[in-house]
């Protein structure tokens, strides 16, 4: 058996091991012994979309404090040019979230500083900026149909400076 053939057999074996391991983890949360975690998670990641759903809407919201002391919503459409679902998913900062609360908090601060800079570049300087997660009920009438008082609940994330 030559080197090429050996490598091809190896690829097949690794692929089968990763897929069986990914499948057993997907279906039974069973971790097949001997298969590296990274392989299992990679394979699992290809089988795991849309496992759950929400019964409310939620979205990252940035607010800026004006000179008169009132808070106003900052329109972030230009800064997050994604379709709504993708934008929401990215707003969770999932890759940083996986690194723990401290990193997540630090990254949301960084996010707020970026917003402050971008707003200032566009002639809209704010005294302070805060980020919150807003929740509101779903409605067939539209995504933001009930995004107003008294339906909104806000969870504070960070405030700068």
């Amino acid at each position: 058996m030559n080197l090429k053939s050996t490598l091809q057999q190896l690829v097949v074996i690794v692929f089968i091991a990763a897929t069986v391991s990914g499948m057993s983890y997907t279906l039974f949360r069973y971790k097949l012994p001997g298969v590296p975690r990274s392989l299992r998670q990679w394979s699992y990641g290809m089988m795991a979309p849309y496992q759950t759903y929400r019964t409310h809407n939620e979205g990252l919201t940035a607010e800026g404090k004006r000179a008169d002391g009132l808070w106003a919503i900052i329109n972030m459409d230009a800064y997050l040019p994604f379709i709504r679902g993708e934008r929401a998913m990215r707003s969770y900062l999932l890759t940083f979230r996986a690194q723990g609360d401290q990193v997540l908090d630090q990254k949301y601060r960084e996010f707020a500083h970026h917003i402050a800079r971008l707003e200032s570049d566009r002639g809209r300087p704010w005294d302070e900026i805060r980020l919150t997660i807003q929740e509101w009920p779903m409605s067939p009438a539209g995504y933001e149909y009930l995004r107003h008082d008294p339906f909104i609940e806000s969870t504070f994330l960070v405030q700068i400076p």
Binding site: Q8, L27, M89
Partner: protein
């Protein structure tokens, strides 16, 4: 030939894989093209960019930091040029490597990484295709090599098997877990999804129809059962076309109703479930002698 070797390693015509390569290249161009109006905001130091590895590897800040907008545009132009290379089969290995490298670079750079199922499958396809010989027909590389865009040389079936088995595993895993995932035991997940942040106007219109929860229950169960069945029956020649039609419709509907359109790149890859020899005969039948039944004989 031993059945194991015949299944995994036999030499076959490259047409199914080449067709998939072209479709994948076009898909990547569309996908990347959608970001073109926002390159500065998404990838440059003047936008909203939070690189993933910069804090962990500050010594590599030259590579991991977001570049200036002009540099981003140059990098992105090269990145898309590589996708054109994949589509045309031109400097194929360099183009595929460039696309892989560009994808990883952009992924680590882009706002908060979004490593989804389709991104992972896409990356796997790119890695597999790099080693596949998908440019051994319908490619400028082949024209340079033997004189005709339509000449072909045999390749190993292994890459084709890896991609098709991954598609099967994805559909099976996704569908089987729905049999006992708590949130997939009724049609509520569908009803709520149709008014969620992923919902398109078509889904919202559907959600406003006077349909009961029993209707959504039925749809969810039909999808669950057919997804599992089709993931298996796509391997059975007599049932293949029906399975492909259902799975394709399912992927298109996920895009139309839930704006999750990225999985459609799987649809052209369904051609790889057919025997490569049959795909060659089909192309020969369609395009006549332009596509020979026999591989090209290289003089050197």
């Amino acid at each position: 030939m031993h059945p194991w070797d015949s299944f995994w390693h036999r030499s076959v015509p490259p047409h199914a894989l080449a067709f998939t390569r072209i479709a994948l290249g076009l898909y990547l161009l569309v996908y990347a093209g959608l970001y073109l109006p926002h390159l500065g905001m998404l990838f440059s130091n003047e936008g909203l960019v939070m690189p993933l590895y910069l804090d962990r590897f500050p010594a590599f800040s030259f590579f991991l930091s977001p570049p200036s907008p002009p540099v981003v545009h140059i990098i992105y132009a090269l990145y898309m040029l590589c996708m054109v290379g994949i589509t045309l089969g031109f400097w194929f290995h360099l183009s595929t490597f460039g696309t892989l490298l560009g994808s990883l670079y952009i992924w680590q750079l882009q706002l908060h990484g979004f490593a989804t199922s389709y991104n992972r499958i896409l990356l796997l396809c790119l890695i597999v295709i790099f080693f596949s010989g998908a440019h051994r027909t319908f490619s400028l590389d082949q024209r340079k090599r033997s004189g005709s865009f339509f000449d072909w040389e045999p390749i190993s079936i292994l890459p084709q098997r890896l991609i098709t088995l991954q598609i099967t595993a994805t559909f099976l895993g996704v569908a089987l877990q729905k049999l006992w995932l708590p949130h997939w035991q009724s049609g509520e997940i569908l009803a709520y999804s149709y008014i969620s942040r992923w919902a398109t106007p078509v889904a919202r219109w559907y959600a406003q129809l006077p349909l009961t929860l029993r209707h959504y229950d039925s749809v969810v169960w039909v999808v669950k059962i057919l997804e599992i069945l089709c993931a298996v029956t796509i391997w059975i020649p007599r049932l293949r076309i029906v399975s492909i039609l259902f799975l394709s419709s399912f992927l298109v509907l996920v895009g139309v109703m839930l704006s999750i359109w990225w999985f459609v790149f799987i649809i052209p890859a369904f051609v790889m479930f057919y025997r490569p020899e049959d795909v060659l005969l089909w192309f020969h039948k369609q395009w006549g002698d332009r596509i020979s039944k026999d591989p090209v004989k290289l003089t050197k």
